[in-house]
């Protein structure tokens, strides 16, 4: 066993740093880094590695030598989410899924890294050993033991947040239950069933954790909310969580109502000031008018500029998500036009840029969905503590009609006609959408101003990143004459919304919104790198035309949340490794 075991723990150690809940395996991390730098630029790799190590250890707030002894102590407080293995924590229940994810992820990383691939494949089985061994170690931690007996005596509460446990460990508790079988008896079917059970438990447990954070007495703990949200937000709590993460909804419960009231009012006033353009008009006449005057008049008067912007928005809203029923309704299109137009008028440096019409849709859809969810809950009389304030109104006739709809429980934003909403509810959903969109775009204003310098920089960063992570792919692209702008401009301009389906984009935004600073700018570049590298092996065998054709229509239609989460966790690794090493990247 001796030597083999040692190698094993190295491979596993790197996994654990990446996906484990406990984090802080400095020693193994450095061996992981060595593997990485094999594919990076050879001349600088040593230097870069040092630097990268420094960055990571710096963040962990302790050195590699201490990590082993600290690990088993329950009182360790690590600095923030970055070390607690964001994706791992959502798969850590019962241990099984986590292990599964680790292996899978390691393989997908290995795809881009031949040296890792070999070792992963060889050691697949042995990883189990090490993994089990590690669980035992954790089991020895005094706090985990306490909770174990707690869980046993109260099986119903197994999946609730174990209140007395250090927040770094919550997901480990179910792992230490006796339910974990002997590894010999763990056949495949068994494993599959356990994974399903674990998935359901995990959903429930996740909900309870969010519930606890979102309903806490005084201020909502944003750090805690970010930590949870990184791994995905339960559908019902998404609107509320997003508004908090974006800083639109105050964390202080007592300030929420007044703030929302003011913001919604401001939006309404904004719309009134721009409605000299008839936002409701649908006729082509007024348009033809506008175009006619463009020819004779110099197009410098501001109202003419506004008309052009509105015209462009109108065309594009019609062309937004044409395959989803919601976006075909006139009421949806009208709302999107208003939100986009007001934003464009208020941000003259960028104005309206194509692609922003895509970015508005997740907010609109989520807030509409939340309205329906709140009505569903209202009818069953539960969940009110998680409502977004001032959204429902007992005097709203349209609302009453929806509440009386026998189909209410089955209404979903995908197919709901927002024409059924009162103008009051419509305005609220538009206002919330507007402010959240504004906050998102505040992070990427450079992407939409003249010459789009933000996007040019991001595309350059992506290229540099690939030169570090997958130099072979970069060389292949260079030899085929592929320019990164040719395929990744759109990835930046539309935040991958043309490449990945809306439900999965919404899941990605949970993570983006949990990053500080928000992930729409620099973290997104790492996600794009992970996205590209997913296809690395295929791309290396293609020529120019095939590459371009492949990348402008990448095979993501069969993707599930799992695919996206793997991509996010890979992005997280590269981000941890390289974010402060940009001097080396350039």
């Amino acid at each position: 066993m001796g030597k083999k075991k040692q190698e094993m723990s190295q491979v596993y150690g790197s996994n654990e740093f990446i996906f484990g809940e406990r984090g802080g395996r400095g020693k193994h991390l450095s061996s992981f880094l060595k593997n990485l730098s094999l594919t990076g630029s050879s001349t600088r790799s040593g230097e870069a590695e040092d630097d990268v190590n420094r960055n990571i250890y710096g963040e962990l707030s302790y050195g590699p030598a201490q990590s082993m002894q600290r690990r088993s102590s329950s009182s360790v407080r690590l600095s923030g989410r970055s070390v607690s293995g964001p994706v791992g924590s959502s798969y850590a229940h019962m241990g099984v899924p986590e292990k599964n994810l680790s292996l899978y992820s390691n393989q997908s990383i290995a795809n881009s890294n031949p040296s890792l691939k070999k070792s992963t494949k060889l050691k697949y089985k042995d990883l189990d050993d090490d993994w089990d061994a590690d669980l035992e170690k954790v089991d020895e931690a005094p706090v985990a033991k306490t909770t174990k007996s707690f869980s046993n005596s109260n099986p119903r509460y197994d999946n609730q947040m174990p209140v007395m446990v250090d927040s770094l460990y919550p997901d480990l508790i179910p792992v230490s239950q006796p339910a974990l079988p002997d590894k010999d008896s763990m056949d495949y079917e068994d494993l599959k069933m356990k994974m399903e059970v674990s998935r359901l438990n995990q959903l429930n447990s996740k909900y309870m954790k969010f519930h606890k954070v979102l309903t806490s007495d005084a201020n909502i703990d944003l750090t805690e909310l970010r930590k949870l949200s990184w791994n995905g937000i339960p559908q019902e709590l998404r609107a509320l969580s997003w508004q908090l993460l974006l800083g639109y909804l105050p964390t202080n419960h007592s300030r929420q109502q007044s703030t929302l009231k003011r913001k919604r009012q401001e939006y309404a006033e904004g719309i009134n000031t721009v409605s000299n353009i008839d936002l409701d008009e649908d006729a082509a006449n007024a348009n033809a008018e506008a175009s006619r005057s463009e020819l004779s008049l110099p197009s410098t008067t501001s109202s003419n500029r506004d008309k052009q912007i509105y015209h462009q928005i109108k065309i594009d809203v019609k062309r937004t998500n044409p395959t989803i029923k919601l976006y075909g309704y006139p009421a949806t299109q009208r709302s999107l036009r208003k939100v986009l137009f007001l934003w464009a008028i208020r941000h003259p440096a960028s104005g309206y840029v194509q692609g922003i019409n895509d970015l508005v849709t997740p907010f609109y859809q989520i807030f509409l969905q939340n309205y329906l969810w709140q009505l569903q809950k209202k009818r069953t009389g539960e969940g009110e503590e998680l409502f977004i304030p001032n959204l429902l109104d007992d005097n709203d006739e349209c609302e009453k009609a929806i509440l009386d709809d026998p189909q209410l429980a089955r209404l979903s934003a995908d197919t709901f006609d927002p024409g059924r909403l009162s103008s009051r509810a419509t305005l609220i959903i538009e206002a919330d959408t507007y402010w959240c969109l504004s906050r998102l775009l505040d992070n990427i204003t450079d992407n939409y101003i003249h010459e789009q310098p933000g996007i040019i920089r991001q595309v350059g960063d992506l290229r540099n990143l690939i030169s570090k992570i997958d130099v072979e792919l970069l060389q292949h692209f260079d030899s085929e004459g592929i320019e990164f702008l040719q395929f990744s401009f759109r990835w930046m301009n539309c935040l991958l919304m043309r490449e990945i389906s809306i439900p999965l984009i919404i899941r990605m935004w949970d993570t983006y919104l949990s990053e500080t600073p928000l992930g729409f700018n620099s973290f997104h570049v790492y996600v794009c790198a992970a996205f590209l590298i997913k296809f690395s092996n295929e791309l290396k065998h293609k020529e120019f035309q095939e590459i371009i054709l492949f990348l402008q229509n990448p095979p993501t239609s069969g993707w599930t949340e799992r695919d996206v989460e793997l991509m996010l966790s890979e992005a997280f690794i590269w981000h941890s490794l390289y974010k402060n090493a940009s001097a080396h990247l350039r």
């Binding site: 010459e451 789009q452 040719q486 759109r490």
Partner: protein
């Protein structure tokens, strides 16, 4: 290393077709992507998503004895993306400058594109001026004031004559005149323009080879 020698192989036994790099330019929503979709897939979609950056497509087209393979860059029309355009027209041998005959502003924009191409693009680039959405004015009486047509056929022809362009009015929706544009361009492209300067001695043999072996089957309907 392998790639290099493979490339050489491709050069000396070149595919039996002439490749033509073609770029589409024009204001947003004039129908560039729709024209390409009609040409490549003989299809039309009412609400096509706006193009971001540019889209790449290829299509073969047989014109008499020759098979031309179009390598098409369909660019985004919005002004904000205009700074990307040079990357796409830099090496192009042909360009379609598209406007919407019901949108006068798009015709002004087309003038600008023609000017920019003459100044910045390759000297021997073949340009076609294309007035799209002809279906919208089909039933109209041209002199009629209520007509949707805002750019007359004469205006288009005049600009084309002045600037030495091919000129077409088309409809991506009904397919009217769409293939004619690409045939017209193809006929004006000199034969094997890329290969001649490099390997003049191989010309005859290759052309025999190409006409002998090239199945023109997947070409366009022209």
């Amino acid at each position: 290393m392998e790639l290099k020698s493979y490339d050489k192989y491709r050069m000396s036994f070149a595919p039996p077709t002439t490749s033509v790099k073609l770029v589409l330019l024009g204001e947003a929503a004039v129908g560039k992507s729709s024209l390409v979709l009609r040409f490549v897939s003989n299809d039309f979609q009412e609400n096509k998503e706006p193009t971001i950056g540019a889209a790449f497509l290829t299509q073969k087209c047989t014109i008499g004895e020759r098979t031309i393979k179009y390598e098409i860059w369909d660019t985004a029309g919005q002004e904000r993306f205009a700074s990307l355009a040079p990357m796409y027209y830099r090496n192009a041998q042909a360009a379609l400058v598209v406007y919407d005959i019901t949108k006068p502003a798009s015709f002004i924009k087309a003038r600008h594109w023609v000017k920019e191409l003459h100044e910045q693009a390759s000297k021997d680039i073949t340009i076609a001026l294309v007035g799209n959405k002809h279906d919208l004015v089909e039933d109209d009486n041209d002199g009629d004031d209520s007509s949707l047509r805002k750019v007359s056929i004469e205006e288009g022809q005049k600009l084309a004559d002045e600037e030495g362009l091919l000129f077409f009015e088309t409809s991506a929706k009904t397919a009217y005149n769409v293939n004619e544009v690409f045939v017209g361009i193809g006929s004006k492209i000199p034969e094997a323009p890329l290969l001649k300067p490099q390997q003049p001695q191989a010309t005859d043999g290759r052309i025999d080879l190409s006409t002998g072996t090239a199945p023109a089957a997947d070409g366009c309907a022209c």
